[in-house]
């Protein structure tokens, strides 16, 4: 399971029949020092995340289980949760949306 930021949406008409009806998002993993990874992933989204939101991404069988269409589908990455906050040991707090980052230093708690 990884943390990532939703940066886009993917549409595909001609695709594997097992993927009909799924929503696909482009997500970019990030690190605890707030840097974005160079790689991007395509994740199926069964819960309705939006662009800019921070999400939990699962892989493999866990992803197919999260998608909820059985285990015989042609996909192995899915969004399993939308992050509210991420509290780090050094006291920093990463928000649930990229827009919350600017506000974060101002809050004293």
């Amino acid at each position: 399971m990884h943390v990532a930021t939703v940066i886009g949406t993917v549409w595909s008409t001609k695709k594997d029949p097992t993927l009909e009806g799924l929503r696909f998002l482009v997500v970019r993993p990030f690190t605890t020092d707030g840097k974005e990874s160079a790689e991007t992933l395509i994740a199926a989204d069964p819960i309705g995340a939006g662009i800019g939101e921070r999400v939990l991404v699962v892989h493999g069988r866990a992803a197919r289980h999260a998608i909820g269409k059985g285990h015989d589908i042609g996909f192995q990455t899915a969004i399993a949760g939308i992050i509210d906050t991420m509290d780090l040991a050094d006291g920093r707090r990463i928000g649930g949306h990229v827009d919350s980052d600017e506000r974060a230093p101002e809050s004293s708690d």
Partner: protein, 112 residues
């Protein structure tokens, strides 16, 4: 399976049913801690059935091993779990940061 250090906790309200009520910890692999200035790699978010605290060193398992450690039958919507808290590591040549200790977390404070 890898050795890591718990560096934080994640909270999510909107999530798949399998993750509801699960404690989700942010774990960074210990190899990255040799040089504190080295670029961070993306952390692993692991379900925590054993009650690890921020700052502790832990063993993280993946895949079915992780799901079974959380009491499931293998069909759960996550694939990483903390399966043990490290008391000590003896590995000649390993960086001193591998040794557990100097917990930054206030034990018990995050249990509420």
């Amino acid at each position: 399976m890898f050795l890591g250090k718990v560096v934080g906790q994640v909270w999510a309200t909107k999530e798949v049913p399998d993750l509801r009520g699960k404690r989700l910890l942010v774990v960074e692999a210990l190899d990255d801690m040799d040089d504190p200035g080295a670029p961070k790699v993306t952390p692993v978010i692991a379900v925590d059935p054993v009650g690890a605290d921020v700052g502790e060193h832990v063993m993280v398992a993946f895949g079915k091993a992780a799901r079974v450690a959380c009491g499931g039958d293998g069909d759960l919507a996550y694939e990483a779990a903390i399966v043990g808290i490290i008391d000590d590591v003896h590995a000649p040549g390993a960086p001193s940061s591998w040794r557990p200790g100097a917990y930054t977390g206030d034990r018990g404070a995050g249990e509420a």
